[in-house]
Subunit: 377 residues, 2 copies
C-alpha cells in the first residue's frame, strides 16, 4: 500500500481561529443593531478562542465595551486592550477579588442588594472607584437583582449615588427560541424596571436577543457566540455570521480491515464488509465530543477529508479518532488533514447532543492555535 | 435574608489535584503488578491534570517510564523529569516532529512498516538515536502494526537491528469489560507476535488490563485513569484507587423563587412550589458537562454543599450553575463551596452519559489549579 507522502506534518492537532471572520461578524452585528453599540462577551477565554487575541481584534475593529465572568479574566483583557475600553465583570465583586477591580479598572456588575452594600463598603475611601452596572433578574433566575429588591434600589437614599451606575442590564433566558413567551415578558419587566432607574445606558440582548429585533437592542447588545461564528436561534438562515474555527488533525495511519473486525474501545463498531480506515490524530482531549462516536446502532458524524465526508466509527478516544474512508473517491495519504467543526460546527454540536458554545469551550489546550487574519497566519 | 459572610473568596472556580493520592495510586498499582513495572500514561497534559506536576510527582515516587501521545508533550515532560526516564511517544514520529525526538531523547512508538522505514531514514547518520517501541495492533484497529506486516518485521534483514527496539507493546480494546472475549483473543495474538520478536520487554495492559490479572501484566503496564483516581472496569469495588480531583466553586447568590417560575436558558426547569436556589460560579467552560443539566423531565445530578447534596436544576450555563437548596438542612451562605466530582467522579461521568476520562480532559483552564501534597497546598 502506498502510504508515504512528501509533506511535512506534526501529529499535533491544529485549531485555526479566523480573526478576520470575528471582525466581520462584529461589523455585521454592529451594523444590524446601530445606533446601539456592541459590548462583546469574551468570558471563558473568549469562549475558548483566546481572550488576548480576540480582545485585540475586536478592539481594533472598534469595540469599546467588553464583558467577562471573573475579575481575573478582566485583568488579562485589560493588559491586552489598554485602559480605554469598558470591562464589566458579570460575577460582580467578591471579597477576594476587590483588588483586581481597582488595579485593572474593572466595572463590577452588581447582582444583589448585598453585593451592592458590600461594594459600597469596599470603595469607602477609594479615590475614583470604577463605575458599576446593575443587573436585574427578569426571569432567568440565575445571577441578578430579584424583583423584590428593586424598590430598595429605587428608594434608599444615597444607594444609587454611591454605586455610580452607568449601565442597567438584564439577560434573556429564551432568546434562542424566537417565539417563547418569556422573551416579551422579560422585555416588559426590564422596561418597567429601567423606567425607575437613573438615565443610564440599558442593555438586554445577547446574540439571540439581537435577532428578536430592535425593541430588544436598547443602547448596548452583548453578543458572544454570534461573534465566534456559532448560530443560536431556532430559525434557519436567520443568522448571517461566518464560521471562525476549524479543527485540523493529520491522518497518522491507514488500514485495511476485514469483515467482522471491530473498532476502538469496547468494540462498539463492527466492519460489515472489508473496510479501509484512517486513524486521525485528534480525540476528546482535543475537543471532539465522545458523543460523536459511531456505533453499530448509529454513525453520528463525520470529518471532512478534502471535499468528502468520512464517517467517524468506533468510540472516539482521548487522542485518536477512526474514520471510515472505504467509499471515498479521494486517495487518502498519511499527513492528510481531517477537518472537524468549521461550517459544520452547529450541526456537529447538535449531533453531539450539546450546543456549539460547549464545543468551543472544550476545545483542547493541546491543539496548536493558529490565528488567521486576511487569509494569512 | 441574611446573605453576607465574613470569609474571603474569589468568584473563580478551583480545581484541587491531590498529588499524594496520585502517588498512593501509583504505589498501589505498582505493588499489584510487581515484579512488572509501571509506565505512566500522562498524555493530554496528564489527562488534563498537568503533565509537569504529575510527571514530577510520579518520578519522585519511582516511576521511570512514561507515555505521551505527541512529541511536543514529551518535550515538556522531559523538561520536568530530567534525562533518565524513558519517554515513549505513542503517535510515533512524523516528518515535522523528528527534531523533537532527538532534542528531548524521546522514544518513538512505531505503528506501521512505513513509519519504521521513515524512522530508519530519519536516523541515518544520527549518532546514538533513541531506541524504539513496536506497537502491534491486536484488535483495537486504531494505531499499530497490522498482523499483515508482522512477517516483514520478523524476516527483513537489518530492519529490527536498525530500529533498535527495546519494547514490544499492544493495546487492549475491551479491558473495561472484564468478560469480553476480545481480551483473551488480544492476549493470545500478542503472545504469538511477541514470540517472534527479539527478547525485549513486553507491555499490553492499560488500567483495565491490570485488573484482568497477571497474564496481562508482562514486564510493563501502562495505567492512566487508575493513577488519576478514576475507575474503568465494569466490576464494582474492584479498583481500590483514591480520588484525585475535586472542582470547587463558590455560591455567588441565593434566591427565593415562586412556584411556576423557570430557571436558566430555555426555561428547562420549573419550580413546582416555592424554592430556594444557589447560583454557583462554575459552568461548562469549567468542565461541568451540560448534560448534567436538570430539566422538568429529570434531575440528573447534584453538587455537594457541606455533607448534603443539592440538585442541579436548569441548563448548566457557561459560567454558572443553579442548585436547588430548598430542602437542605444546612444554612447556605454566599462564598460557600459547592463541590463537583471528587469521590463522585465516576458517577457524575455516567450521569453525564460519558466517561470519567472525558470529564478530566475537559476540566477548564479557567479553574485555579491547586496541587495538594500531604494535605497541604
Amino acid at each position: 500500500m502506498r502510504e508515504t507522502d512528501g509533506r511535512s506534518y506534526s501529529s499535533r492537532p491544529v485549531l485555526t481561529i479566523n480573526l478576520s471572520a470575528v471582525i466581520e461578524n462584529y461589523k455585521f452585528l454592529a451594523a444590524k443593531v446601530a445606533p446601539a453599540k456592541i459590548g462583546a462577551s469574551v468570558k471563558a477565554d473568549a469562549y475558548g478562542l483566546g481572550i488576548i487575541q480576540i480582545g485585540k481584534a475586536l478592539y481594533g475593529a472598534g469595540c469599546r465595551t467588553f464583558f467577562v465572568a471573573h475579575a481575573g479574566e478582566g485583568k488579562i483583557l485589560r493588559g491586552a486592550i489598554g485602559n480605554q475600553p469598558n470591562i464589566y465583570v458579570l460575577s460582580g465583586p467578591t471579597p477576594q477579588d476587590s483588588a483586581l477591580f481597582f488595579g485593572s479598572t474593572l466595572k463590577p456588575v452588581i447582582n444583589s442588594l448585598t453585593q451592592a452594600r458590600d461594594w459600597i463598603k469596599t470603595i469607602d475611601g477609594v479615590k475614583r472607584p470604577p463605575r458599576t452596572a446593575l443587573h436585574f433578574d427578569t426571569g432567568l433566575n440565575r445571577l441578578g437583582i430579584p424583583s423584590s429588591e428593586i424598590e430598595i434600589f429605587v428608594k434608599e437614599d444615597g444607594l444609587m449615588d454611591a454605586l455610580n451606575v452607568d449601565l442597567v442590564m438584564s439577560h434573556l433566558a429564551c432568546s434562542s427560541l424566537q417565539d417563547h413567551p418569556l422573551n416579551k415578558q422579560q422585555l416588559d419587566l426590564f422596561k418597567r424596571t429601567a423606567a425607575q432607574m437613573p438615565m443610564v445606558n440599558l442593555s438586554l440582548a445577547n446574540t439571540g436577543g439581537i435577532y428578536l429585533g430592535k425593541p430588544y437592542h436598547f443602547k448596548l447588545v452583548r453578543p458572544g457566540i454570534g461573534l465566534f461564528g456559532g448560530t443560536t436561534t431556532d430559525t434557519p438562515n436567520l443568522e448571517k455570521t461566518r464560521p471562525v474555527i476549524e479543527l485540523h488533525a493529520p491522518v497518522l495511519q491507514i488500514k485495511n480491515v476485514n469483515k467482522g473486525e471491530t473498532f476502538g474501545y469496547n468494540a462498539l463498531y463492527t466492519a460489515a464488509s472489508h473496510m479501509k480506515i484512517a486513524i486521525v490524530s485528534a480525540g476528546y482531549a482535543d475537543g471532539l465530543p465522545i458523543s460523536l462516536s459511531g456505533t453499530d446502532n448509529a454513525v453520528i458524524s463525520h470529518a471532512r477529508l478534502g471535499k468528502e465526508n468520512a464517517p467517524i466509527i468506533g468510540r472516539i478516544s482521548m487522542d485518536y479518532t477512526i474514520l471510515d474512508i472505504t467509499n471515498l473517491k479521494k486517495y487518502v495519504e498519511r499527513g492528510e488533514k481531517a477537518v472537524f467543526f468549521g461550517a459544520n460546527l452547529d450541526t456537529q454540536a447538535k449531533q453531539a447532543q450539546t450546543i456549539n458554545y460547549e464545543i468551543l469551550t472544550h476545545l483542547g489546550q493541546r491543539c496548536k492555535r493558529v490565528y488567521i487574519r486576511d487569509g494569512k497566519e
